[in-house]
Symmetry: C2
Subunit: 325 residues, 2 copies
């Protein structure tokens, strides 16, 4: 049994094509029905403003599976500690014995989340996409752009964030990556010229609506990962020519499909039952596995909602161990 710390893991695993291929293969296995992915175990620790999520999946044919524990304790910054943390345990899929513990402090989650955004853009956005609008200015704002460069020739970033100082900090970091960055005062202005829009906020209210979408844009919404959060107005989903998510079950519970399951402002409010949505729901894994072409013209609008899946965790942990051992 081996233990690895964040320093070792981040030296071995970076946002590169090999890591992207590993996560993409995980999604494809899920799409082919070759993965077992149980519902997320989630526990709130209210008195500490904390929560912990456990995700796992097994991909048939893989020799290992990961179980990831992600604590989020939102009073931690007051103590000088990061809110998000976590580790992954890697088990043999033949014997159930522990092979390794990856004390990555959330590093691999950062990587596989950024890569999922790139994978969505690879299969859904226009191949000539150059300009990205990023809503949000946290760690993923930067990482999503970094990962997108693996699949598209990104030249310019239009940035909006609730806190202008955070937007300015993030803009500096993106400029250091050689990108032309503009900070905007409104979502509408940030998105006006976008080929790709990435929403990466912890918002509990929709921040993007259909009126903000330029023709031919691809939207990746990766902020909402719990029942309380939400980034997209229902109009974004109904306006889209194709709506894709990483897991329909998770999108309905934690992601943007919540807008259509009992909320007051969804067009089919109160329904949410299968087949009652005013649009078809695709899953990213099936799009990859079946080579579905959802972008039919340069004007097609695509939306991908990412909530984060156990299959990504098993895929990136397996990849990390192959690099580390």
């Amino acid at each position: 049994m081996q233990l690895f710390d964040r320093a070792a893991i981040s030296a071995a695993v970076t946002l590169d094509q090999d890591a992207l291929s590993a996560v993409e293969a995980g999604f494809a296995a899920l799409g082919r029905g070759e993965a077992v992915q149980p519902p997320i175990l989630s526990m709130a620790i209210e008195e500490a403003n904390g929560e912990v999520d456990v995700k796992t999946a097994h991909i048939r044919g893989f020799s290992r599976f990961a179980i990831k524990v992600s604590p989020g304790f939102f009073d931690n910054p007051k103590r000088g500690l990061p809110s998000l943390n976590g580790l992954m345990m890697v088990f043999s899929a033949q014997t159930g014995l522990v092979e390794a513990v990856l004390f990555d402090e959330g590093y691999l989650t950062m990587v596989r989340t950024a890569l999922a955004g790139a994978i969505a853009a690879k299969h859904l956005s226009r191949t000539d996409s150059r300009r990205v609008a990023v809503l949000g200015a946290g760690e993923q704002a930067k990482r999503q752009v970094e990962a997108l460069r693996l699949v598209r020739d990104i030249e310019a970033v239009d940035l909006w964030a609730r806190r202008p100082e955070a937007a300015n900090d993030c803009a500096e970091q993106l400029r250091a990556m050689g990108l032309a960055v503009t900070v905007h005062e409104s979502v509408r202005a940030a998105c006006a010229e976008a080929d790709i829009i990435v929403t990466t906020t912890p918002s509990q209210q929709p921040i993007l609506s259909a009126a903000d979408l330029p023709e031919g844009v691809h939207v990746t919404a990766m902020g909402s990962d719990s029942p309380e959060k939400r980034e997209l107005d229902a109009s974004v989903l109904t306006r889209a020519d194709a709506f894709v998510c990483d897991s329909r079950a998770q999108s309905e519970r934690n992601g943007e499909l919540k807008a259509f399951a009992g909320s007051a402002d969804g067009p089919s409010a109160g329904s949410g039952a299968d087949g009652e949505l005013p649009f078809k729901v695709f899953e990213l894994g099936q799009v990859i596995a079946e080579g579905q072409r959802l972008r039919l013209t340069p004007a097609t609008i695509t939306v991908c909602d990412l909530t984060g899946t156990g299959v990504q965790d098993t895929a990136i942990a397996d990849f990390a161990l192959s690099r580390l051992t």
Copy 2:
């Protein structure tokens, strides 16, 4: 962050009164509504005849919580490896940071499971209980008896197991503990004189029925912990004067209440909805917390179904760390 192996953990934690008190306090907190205990995360890995369960709970006021991973890979014995395994991670309930990883290989699960049986007997069996019938001859057969001695003056054990050679081995080990042990060829014969009956098998068919129950007996059924398993005929539950379980939700899914939820042989087959059971369901934590007296006369028959709860895991992990650090 500290790591402990099985040797260190088993040296620090044994089946004693302090450990029993720690687990009992966990149940009591659950009974008072002071614990958060999410549903078990369970994943099957069919091609390896394996499964993995993840359990957790937070007890309000506790400074730590545990997340336990229990893999069961049932082809392992062919490879010379144990079927059951596992580890517990212990996190700060204030910050979510990992405090320790207990690589106990299932040792603490053995301890907290045996102690739960003793706690059930402490609150439900006759105080003058001397004679235990044990059905099954695995690790827990011995450990349940060992733990019962913490709460009752056990003198004699009547043993039955499907495989006679396993029963004889187990009998030898129990005799080495100074007990009078008789191996029986039938469940009926083993239970005829019992003050306490413990069922500790992986059976998928009922092995104990109402006709096997002597007057005044207490039954602890701890074998069934998955949708496939079952030890008690429905008649045992309807015959009992009081039916208790560690968690009603888990008993309905993984334990003996399955007999009353859609199975063909339950008296209220097909129903299973709340309040439709032909008896009242008590939870062990409430019995402890509220000091409920369910044994009204020496002839009262009590049954307790134990499926294994996250609150036991957090309680024993917290106790183990208090001994280890």
